[in-house]
Amino acid sequence: MKKILGYCDDWSAVAGGTVSFKISTYGPDRFEATLVRVICGDVDPAHGIFQEEEIDAPLNGEHKGHLQPIDAGSYAVVPQSSSMDELGSFTVQAWVFPTTPAKGEQGIITNWQNDRGAGFALMIDGSGAIALRVGDKTGKVSDVSTGVPLAERRWYLVSGSYDSGTGEITVRQTPVEATLEKLLAGEATGTGAYSSASAPLMFAAFPDILSDSRPSSARHFNGKIDRPRLSAGVLPAHDIAAIAADEGPSARHDGIIGAWDFSQVIGTHDICDTGPHGLHGRTVNLPSRGCKGYNWTGNEQNFRHAPHEYGAIHFHDDDLYDAGWETTFSYDIPKDFKSGAYAVRLRADDDESYVTFFVRPPKGKTTAKLAFLASTVTYMAYSNYHWLFHERFAEVTEAFWTTLQKTDVFLQEHNEFGLSTYDNHSDHSGVRFASRLRPILNMAPGTPCWSFNADTHILGWLENQNIDYDVLTDEDLHNEGVAALEPYTAVLTGTHPEYYTTPMLEGLHQYIEGKGRLIYLGGNGFIWRCAMSDNFPGAIELRRAEDGIRYRNEEPGEYYLELTGEYGGLWRRLGLPPQALVGVGTIACGFDRSGYYRRTEQSFDPRVAFIFNGIGEDEIIGDFGFLGDGASGSEIDATDLLMGTPAQALIVARSEGHSANTLICPDEIGFHYPAMDGVQSPLVRAEMTFFESPGGGAVFSVGSIAWAASLPHNGYDNNVSHLTENVMRRFLEVTPFKIPATPG
């Protein structure tokens, strides 16, 4: 169904800079590209609000297209070295925790050359047992298997040895003793002939070649590997065990060729060899590091406090960091280019795709008083989600009948495009990383109105109201902190700024503390801590520690982010709840029908008269909209003084009319009970809130994802639009707000 896809090298481009686009076609050998400014990406014909502006650019026109493959699946690689090329007799070993041992051949430690069938591979064979494969480059390949299938998710010490004098192979698998189970060990001997592969050493995969001749990987190992070792000679079982338990075995054992310690330099690409030859390597496709090792006791929960117990890397056959495609064309953005949301629209046969990106003004310049903060970190968190295929409860949660898009079908049929942080890997472990260095099929005009495309309801509104704006991204805020926001009189969020790194949150907090004006035009914002690192540009990491609305659980003992060492999870548990930042935090979710707002008594306070200019005293606000037919819905936020809503905050409107399918969030309650729904519970409501800050700034929050989908109603002529414009005009007017004193 999909015939063309692409991505670009950076989502945050600068006027005067360059963006490179990487495109792949699936069938057609030609495609058409057009640069467009994204104004409103909602293509529902019943709404009639889709808007984009074609922009003259040298990239516009027909291009040759071809398929660009992807090497998905994580592994680690050590460059070819003479120490491995000169192996005679050897023993290779590791602790392994296989998560899908029955899924066919999987390489654990391989030094293998496919063409000649040379080298060795310590592997899981087709029967799910540990085997050692050797090849002598004449085509003779021998496998010796223990014949005992491994149990899923249990630690084993596995080894294979080869005697170059006799050709004897010995292979072993020994489970870590379990208190309540009887796991089977295995040992076998056989013969074979070995000749050096003269190739890199790989962990968790066999080598392969992509259709474009790039080196790649195949037959990935799903699971954890801890303390891999390679030794000269045929080691007896007790020596194998001694080396396996030793953190730095080369100090005490002769013959160590490689002894990799995966607990070092966590948070980087690098893997360290503590052996005498310095056979260091690199990981590929962001496997999970800082994972519990074979010897985890549970006494420590932080990998930095007990690195010797966190020496495992968890590899997955569906990890992806960088698709690595060639650049098809680049675009030199003119210096006077209008800041905004843009895309390259691609058409091939009957298919159309977009590659979305954002353009900031040139460094040091602003071209508007308002900045729209594009939630690019959140867009990444949701990128390429698969929950419609994997989540049994998705339909009852969202009260719908699954309707797939062509993009969903493509993602299901093409595992190599990676997953979202809402998914589980194929081995059922949670996805912790998401990257923008690959085609993102759900961040574009024409996709369902969630996240990015829901935010285009706001962009369309700004356009319609003739309100000038610059665009910044979350990554800009992360990299530059408050300095990115300070030049702007007001900052406007999207519908769902859910995922925030520590620098992002600190930057926004400083902006609000100062004279900044924040319009939070969404819901479920500022919820999860995530991390980014200069070691992995274009990727985010998320650990769904403890609770929170989530489609997957986090592994106990692995709640700390490997990129930064910070504790993961909800910001409400980490010291900066959203209520303390913007006045409101998520209280409930419901996706079938939205509510509307009614003014409160506090809405008549003179401090907020500007908000309700032209809105009647009893006027119902937002009983219409494209998301659930109301402005208060999907995910909604409310105040909470105990969680830090500023004392001077005014609740100016409160929602009602929520459905029985709108339920209080699990992180808000200690115990579930009947009557947690929007019909019966007084807690289920959005609260529209306003407060002034000490520096003369202010914050306005609507507390609802659905709000923006009500803006376009009736040709943008409605009270949601009017109220938002009232706030916008006042917030862009520089007269400071005066914070009232908090009563002592």
Partner: protein, 99 residues
């Protein structure tokens, strides 16, 4: 787990007349049962033309497998597609055709 009574043709009629909901309390139990069925063999819709055309499909048994499309089940009206999904899942869960 809630078991659907295949003789409850009144609930079937309620759904056919109002496939988009809201549903009565009893029909909600039926709908939730059909929505909570195992993912494999679940009939769904694929939107082939936004707002204008849908085709019946089935969730495949494993990751990477092709999505089965029922090329003779194309709908120009979303509600018609939902009705077909309802009937197919009813058959899968109860073993009986909708009466």
């Amino acid at each position: 787990m809630y078991e659907i009574d295949p003789s409850r043709t009144d609930l079937v009629d309620e759904f056919r007349n109002n496939p988009g909901g809201p549903y009565s309390e009893e029909l909600t139990l039926v709908v939730n049962r059909l929505r909570l069925m195992p993912m494999q063999d679940k009939h769904v819709l694929v939107c082939t033309k936004r707002g204008r055309e849908w085709i019946l499909a089935k969730i495949p048994p494993e990751r990477g497998a092709k999505v089965e499309l029922f090329k003779d089940q194309v709908f120009k009206n979303y509600s018609d597609g939902v009705w077909e999904v309802f009937k197919r899942r009813w058959k899968t869960v109860t073993g009986q055709d909708v009466r």
